[in-house]
């Protein structure tokens, strides 16, 4: 992994089959995620959002990997960190803020779950929970269904390096390997699970585990959106062609604390964080876009302004929206609700 790879003036995207419109859209998603994040932290400090899960730092890995999938056909099994990814998958900023506030219009859960517990049947985003790594097995099951149905849809599942420790992950890797499922495992390795460093989390290394399960494993720079796209696209194409699963480890960093309940100063130094921010995926991608002449200062300012406006409106709509009515609280425990047991 070499630092700043994306900023050089070579045309990397054409090789990858990406058009300039793609690049702009990817850039917009990255920025949207970043600005949503900044906004939700601000709301948290204002006492308006009790709980925030930040994405900042992961936008390159998420948008790059997410872009490799076909929306409307493929299936996303994300985890809580994946704000940028679910935007790519089709959630809107307004929906994100509905979830942040726990409003009735939150598409993920109607205000039942904490923020960042994404889900949307319509967008093929599988409902997620808090217990770590359960979604990877759901991904395996969905991929098995696709295989049984002879569909050419591909399933992606995302998780942190901490998520690789649970038995669920092991089971999903094993199942995918045995049945050569159309499943792409994407590890966003930011070196920490809350405070626990990778060295106390992962014996050996994440991507090297792939071989033991009979699938290809690669490691790449998650701060490089195009590299993240390239590695994932190869895996998605292979899976779609019947070539089975892959494991992709994207190295990145989380810029904020784990959540708004965490304080990262107990376990990592300010210097380390500052150092990591130098590899921020957004300016890196901006440098690339400039170098190939797709954007300039003016266009950047314009885009930023557009996105900020969208987010401001989203926040406003979400703030004004209603909380769920307690009279609805007994719904959806079962499809046919029995009487409340009292």
């Amino acid at each position: 992994m070499s630092e700043g790879k994306v900023s050089e003036g070579t045309d990397r995207h054409t090789e990858l089959g990406l058009k300039e419109e793609d690049l702009i859209e990817m850039y917009r998603y990255m920025l949207t995620a970043r600005f949503c994040d900044e906004r939700q932290w601000a709301l948290n400090r204002m006492g308006k959002a009790p709980f925030v899960v930040p994405v900042s730092g992961h936008e390159g890995a998420q948008v790059g990997s997410g872009w490799a999938f076909e929306r409307g056909k493929d299936v996303f099994c994300p985890y809580y960190r994946d704000l940028a990814l679910v935007l790519v998958a089709g959630l809107t900023p307004e929906e994100v803020f509905m979830g942040l506030f726990g409003k009735a219009a939150d598409p993920s859960s109607g205000g039942r779950q904490m923020p960042a517990h994404w889900g949307s049947r319509e967008r093929h985003i599988i409902t997620g929970s808090s217990p770590i790594a359960t979604q990877v097995l759901h991904g395996a099951g969905i991929a098995l269904a696709k295989k049984i149905k002879k569909s050419d849809a591909v399933v992606g599942t995302w998780f942190g390096e901490g998520g690789t420790s649970e038995g669920d992950w092991h089971g999903a890797m094993n199942m995918a390997g045995i049945h050569q499922l159309p499943l792409v495992f994407v590890c966003e390795n930011n070196q920490y699970a809350i405070s626990v460093h990778e060295s106390k989390q992962v014996a050996g290394s994440v991507y090297k585990r792939a071989e033991g399960y009979g699938m290809p494993g690669v490691q790449g720079d998650g701060n490089d959106v195009l590299e993240s796209y390239r590695l994932t696209k190869e895996a998605v194409d292979r899976a779609r062609a019947g070539g089975g699963p892959s494991l992709i480890e994207l190295r990145t960093y989380r810029f904020y604390s784990h959540t708004s309940d965490d304080d990262d100063r107990t376990y990592r130094s300010k210097e380390e964080v500052e150092e990591a921010k130098k590899k921020d995926p957004i300016p890196a991608f901006e440098r690339y876009l400039r170098s190939i002449g797709v954007i300039d200062d003016h266009r950047i300012a314009e885009i930023r302004e557009e996105i900020k406006t969208i987010i401001a409106e989203a926040v406003k709509a979400a703030e004004e929206a209603d909380f769920p009515d307690p009279s609805t609280a007994m719904r959806n425990v079962y499809a046919d609700p029995p009487q409340e047991v009292t």
């Binding site: 299936v75 598409p107 993920s108 859960s109 109607g110 205000g111 039942r112 779950q113 517990h117 889900g119 949307s120 049947r121 599988i126 409902t127 929970s129 217990p131 359960t134 990877v136 097995l137 759901h138 991904g139 395996a140 099951g141 969905i142 991929a143 098995l144 269904a145 696709k146 295989k147 049984i148 149905k149 038995g167 669920d168 092991h170 089971g171 999903a172 094993n174 199942m175 045995i178 719904r331 959806n332 425990v333 079962y334 499809a335 046919d336 029995p338 047991v341």
Partner: protein
Amino acid sequence: MAESSNGVTEKNIIQTIHDTLHDEMKRDDRMVILGEDVGARGGVFRATMGFLQEFGPERVIDTPLDECLIAGVSIGLALDDMRPVAEFQFADFIFPGFNQIVQEAARIRYRSNGDFGLPLVMRTPWGGGVHGALYHSQSIEAFFAHVPGLKVVAPSTPEDVKGMLTQAIDDPDPVLFLEHKKTYRLIKGDVPDERYTIPFGKSKVVREGSDLTCVSYGLMHHYCLEAANRLSTDGIEVEVIDLRSIYPLDMDTVLESVGKTNKAMIVYEDNKFLGVGAEVSAQIAEHALFELDGPVVRIGAPHVPAMPYAPTLEHWFLPDPDRIEQEMRKLAEY
């Protein structure tokens, strides 16, 4: 298989399960069976014998030895509109899948506010009296019935088994379908050949009586019936109710009966403390207290970790018709 006559066939319970699963596999392409040894082996109790040959390895899937995987993959299948019927080889081995079942399967509909649903059947053999010792005899219904979002059923006759297994497969929600392994070959009965379902949440008065109400399920239901029949010769008439469904729990039938007999007893082979009998008893104490002419009696297993192996100890652990008869007599005479 026995001959069918008048549209009914006599079968034991394991045969009924086999045939019901078979009919449903033929009926709905989306149904897949997965678990340990469900393929060539046809399941260690032969519930899926011949299925691999008939339906092929894509619909009859031998999984790795990982119950977390079985549960999690089944959830994924259901989310993609398949109809998974998962087998956990023994109820005692479902616990590595506990997190996936309790935190995921049970909560997916609620947490997505109804955006996702989960038509999932989880079958597993439970219960003791088969020299299975600590890890092949357990009762697990209380753990799961405590979890909103799950349905838990434990039918005890071939007819109910077919109707409720069919219902479980039709059900849009996750169902834990408990099969008492000692009854697999012990209990026979007439089973209608036609497809039918029995709705969950309806218990059944199997024997009418006026002196006391006895509530149970699974193997214990048969033992209670035997004890009640014996007492009848002494003029003690016990009303015997087979719960069949643990959640939803049909307390109406129980309370109505208690209103008539004024005495209640609950018999279960699970550990007594916080077992299903606790809930039944608590609901009686809440809703029918002043109808009672005697304490609400619970017969359950002693507070030891499951059934020991030695025949002397197994016998000591498991309630049997003798002990149930004694306790019934005591309560009737209270």
